[in-house]
């Protein structure tokens, strides 16, 4: 049986007080209670990864992540990504990646996680490290942008 609980979360270096049903996933605490809407809802079952955030440097899927288990940890959302991975967002702009843009918050967070693990990612690392869904099909440009941010030479996948 769920209950209302009051706690605080550290998001992008700021402490936010939260009063919520204890079962509320981190995604909805961020979006509806804290008001950081950059993290998106796409499926609610950890399939599309539009809700990706970092918790203590680990990529997590906020739609199924228990918010209370993030107490005392450092949460990074798209709104705070520039302090963690400043080159990524610029690479996304340089390669003109987003179309509708809805998946890109999760993509960028996932890419930050990927580069942490593979600073010089091979194509196979990008394939497995970025499983997020982009319904617009921006994948070829994402691949280029990740490599650009990592300073890896690109084998051109897009004629630009």
């Amino acid at each position: 049986m769920s209950e209302t609980r009051t706690y605080s979360l550290n998001v992008n270096g700021t402490t936010y007080p939260v009063t919520a049903d204890s079962e509320t996933p981190l995604l909805w605490v961020l979006r509806d209670l804290i008001g950081l809407t950059g993290t998106k809802y796409g499926c609610g079952i950890e399939q599309c990864y539009a809700c990706s955030v970092m918790v203590d440097g680990q990529v997590e899927h906020a739609c199924v992540f228990d918010a209370t288990s993030a107490i005392g940890k450092k949460i990074t959302t798209i709104e705070g990504l520039s302090t963690v991975a400043p080159k990524l967002q610029q690479a996304w702009i340089d390669e003109q990646v987003p179309q509708c843009g809805y998946c890109q918050s999760g993509m960028l967070i996932a890419a930050a996680g990927l580069l942490k693990e593979h600073p010089q990612p091979a194509d196979s690392d990008i394939d497995s490290g970025l499983p997020n869904i982009c319904a617009c099909g921006t994948y070829p440009r994402i691949r280029k942008a990740v490599k650009r941010a990592a300073g890896v030479a690109t084998t051109s996948t897009v004629s630009r």
Partner: protein, 724 residues
């Protein structure tokens, strides 16, 4: 303070009105949707600020179209800025809310669809920009005491260009001229810039919406937050056509609102709480007479029966003597193709926010259909359309689905029960997938005739399919000759000169809701047509490109696309060992696109799509990089749906509810994509949709060459159907 003067018709159907408000030269616009008499009375803000030139040099241009990723919120301002001779670095974009003045000149409705943004607004936007430019030049000339003809506009300033005048070479910025320009009458028929002198249009300018889309600040419909807002979710009929009967109680602190096809639950805390409560809400459902017939197996059998015995047989196209050509043929080829219902799967689920009071209704929505949404909201609230305000947010994809108004209608219905309280309605992914208006299923049988030289003498085809047009307005189809052109487009519009063609269509009244899906009928009819052309080429013993080429003599643009595609794809050289290529070409939305796909693998181990070569002739591109992006997007979406996309129904129930059972392309599935744009100078064509149709047949044609197996039914690799 406004110093507005009477509006002026500056071009056929385009009205402008100038004013100076809040430190800016404001040019209000109407693309001809308002009654003529309304212009004289309208204030500039009623006509709506279209261009705003601030004394601080900022230039704000409204994008009248919805931005769902296709890039028109940059392309449309580029057209204005080109004629305005603006300094692009000073240009800002605003998304237009609902306003009749912003109706697309092509169809007099504010609606985003049919790849019409640039085509529809291009001429009007050029005129608007040119009018503002001429007003600024006139203001500059007055300031410097010279004639307007002595001045030029460039990079956001007016310069005295004629030599030998006291003020020669002097420059006044647009900001400094804003107040004076606003007091002038917009000129009629302002001169337009020759295309060869374009400096903004035709260049790959970075999109204006992208910075906000990489830092989380872009506001999509689902992100709207208002003071005192509550959160709603819906539970809609689990089976096709059902309506709610008895509705159980909402959890404590929440309430239910009955809707025509379901129930909404409203929570004060979070969307998650509302979705959870809606999921567990007890509702008894009442079947429609047709509910059980929404069953994939039954619907396939019904379509097959219609194919042989259905009536009326409606004739969409009948040129030459196709039956005669078959009778005289040296060889005939007959094949039957089919496609399933397909969901739209935009990643942002349906949502809308509404605030209703006794005298007003304000809506925030990711909609492709501002005009229709206002009419729906007016009908529900009983308010007149002028009391409805609609703010268009960014759309997290739309693919046509957000051109329907059902989700906006629901938000307004819910908000009407709690006047003064803003309500954000968000559908769960499960609701989004199962309450779609799907791409129509279609069954198509084709017969082609070849003469003794292997030349194609005719194509006869019969299609059985549900109809978007019929579902939206059945009355027209009482006429036994009425045809929904979208049911056969792509077949009737093949780029080839065929000596004869007969295209028949039989309406299928299956109960599944259908609607527009990226490139509409072309998205599957080109799969039928271009796969079949390859079958005919094989029967004629000819190379697929050579066979097509021989039929394009009268279509030089399509021929140029095919020839460029031949060169860019390296078609003349043999593919790598273990690889095969397939080609397809189509013309729709005023553009011609050809694609060659290179694949490897096998039907048992899986097909790997290695690369796709795309060539498009869209007349001219506004922003070439956006055109390339749309080709990449169309290829990826088309591939996913060709490989895996379907919505199966079992006893009335749509069976795929989320991405765990509906397979979408991911990074590992994405081929390299190389796009070439032919700047032919032909009439402007659309860009958002035309890249999609060729990919499925190109893939099927490659698979046929690689494996010897012709796949005539989509999806090519059906995914397991969930059992519950």
């Amino acid at each position: 303070m406004s110093t507005g003067i009477a509006s002026r018709e500056v071009d056929r159907g385009t009205f402008l009105k100038a004013s100076f408000v809040g430190g800016a030269f404001i040019l209000g616009i109407d693309f001809g949707a308002l009654p003529r008499a309304a212009h004289a009375a309208a204030s500039p803000t009623q006509l709506n600020a279209y261009i705003r030139i601030g004394t601080d040099e900022s230039i704000t241009i409204v994008a009248p179209n919805s931005e769902l990723g296709q890039g028109t919120s940059t392309a449309l301002p580029m057209i204005v800025a080109e004629e305005l001779k603006a300094d692009w670095s000073k240009v800002r974009m605003e998304l237009a809310g609902a306003n009749a003045a912003f109706a697309n000149p092509m169809f007099h409705l504010q609606l985003t669809g049919g790849s019409t943004a640039v085509r529809g607004y291009y001429q009007a936007l050029r005129t608007v920009g040119a009018s503002a430019r001429e007003m600024l030049i006139a203001a500059g000339a007055a300031k410097f005491g010279v004639n307007a003809s002595d001045c030029v506009a460039e990079k956001g300033a007016v310069r005295v260009a004629t030599a030998g005048l006291p003020s020669s070479g002097q420059v006044a910025t647009y900001g400094s001229l804003a107040a004076a320009a606003a007091s002038l009458a917009p000129p009629a028929n302002p001169p337009l810039t020759d295309r060869k002198n374009f400096q903004i249009v035709g260049t790959s300018i970075p999109r204006l919406d992208i910075p906000a889309k990489v830092n989380g600040s872009a506001v999509f419909g689902i992100d709207v937050r208002l003071p005192g807002m509550v959160y709603a979710a819906v539970k809609q009929s689990p089976k096709v056509g059902q309506i709610p009967g008895a509705i159980g109680a909402a959890p404590r602190g929440m309430k239910t609102v009955a809707l025509p096809n379901g129930v909404a639950v409203v929570a004060t805390t979070t969307t998650w709480a509302a979705i959870k409560a809606a999921n567990s809400l007890s509702v008894t459902w009442i079947d429609a007479p047709s509910t059980a017939s929404a069953d994939t197996t039954a619907m396939k059998a019904a379509a097959a029966a219609l194919m042989t015995g259905g009536s009326p047989v409606r004739v969409a196209l009948n040129t030459g003597d196709a039956p005669g050509a078959i009778a005289k043929a040296a060889k005939t080829v007959t094949a039957t193709y089919s496609v399933p219902y397909v969901p739209h799967t935009s990643l942002e689920p349906m949502n809308a926010t509404a605030l209703v009071t006794p005298t007003s209704c304000e809506i925030w929505a990711p909609t492709q259909a501002q005009g229709p949404c206002v009419l729906v909201a007016a009908a529900i609230t009983g308010l007149t359309p002028d009391k409805i305000t609609l703010h268009t947010t960014y759309l997290g994809g739309g693919m046509g689905r957000k051109g329907e108004t059902d989700f906006v209608e629901q938000a307004v219905r819910i908000a009407k029960t709690m006047p003064g309280t803003p309500v954000k309605l968000t559908w769960s992914r499960e609701e989004d997938m199962t309450q779609d208006f799907y791409r129509p299923a279609s069954l198509c049988s084709l017969t082609g005739s070849l003469d003794s030289t292997g030349a194609l003498t005719g194509i006869s085809s019969r299609t059985v399919s549900p109809s978007i047009g019929y579902q939206k307005g059945p009355a027209r189809y009482a006429d036994p000759t009425a045809v929904d052109s979208s049911a056969v487009e792509g077949i009737t519009t093949m780029p080839y000169a065929l000596p004869s063609q007969r295209t028949e269509w039989i309406l299928d009244t299956a109960p599944v809701r259908v609607s527009y899906w990226r490139s509409v009928g072309n998205s599957y009819n080109v799969f039928f047509a271009e796969s079949f052309i390859d079958e005919l080429a094989a029967a004629a013993g000819k190379d697929p490109i050579a066979f097509r080429r021989g039929m394009l003599g009268a279509n030089p643009r399509a021929l140029a696309v095919l020839d460029t595609l031949t060169a860019k794809s390296g078609w003349a050289a043999a593919p790598k060992a273990g690889h095969a290529r397939g080609v397809a070409i189509s013309q729709c939305f005023g553009s011609i696109v050809g694609e060659v796909v290179d694949i490897s693998g096998s039907l048992t181990t899986g097909i790997k799509v290695n690369s796709v070569t795309v060539v498009i002739d869209c007349g001219n591109s506004i922003n070439p990089d956006t055109v390339r992006a749309q080709m990449e997007s169309a290829v990826l979406q088309g591939l996913g749906v060709a490989l895996w996309g379907d919505m199966p129904f079992t006893a009335g129930k749509p069976m795929r509810r989320n991405f765990n059972t509906y397979k979408m392309p991911r990074m590992r599935d994405a081929p390299a994509i190389d796009t070439t744009i032919i700047e032919s100078g032909g009439p402007l064509g659309g860009v958002g949709e035309p890249g999609l149709p060729p990919i499925a047949p190109a893939l099927g044609n490659a698979i046929a060459r690689l494996t010897g197996t012709r796949l005539r039914s989509l999806p090519m690799f059906p995914q397991p159907v969930p059992t519950s």
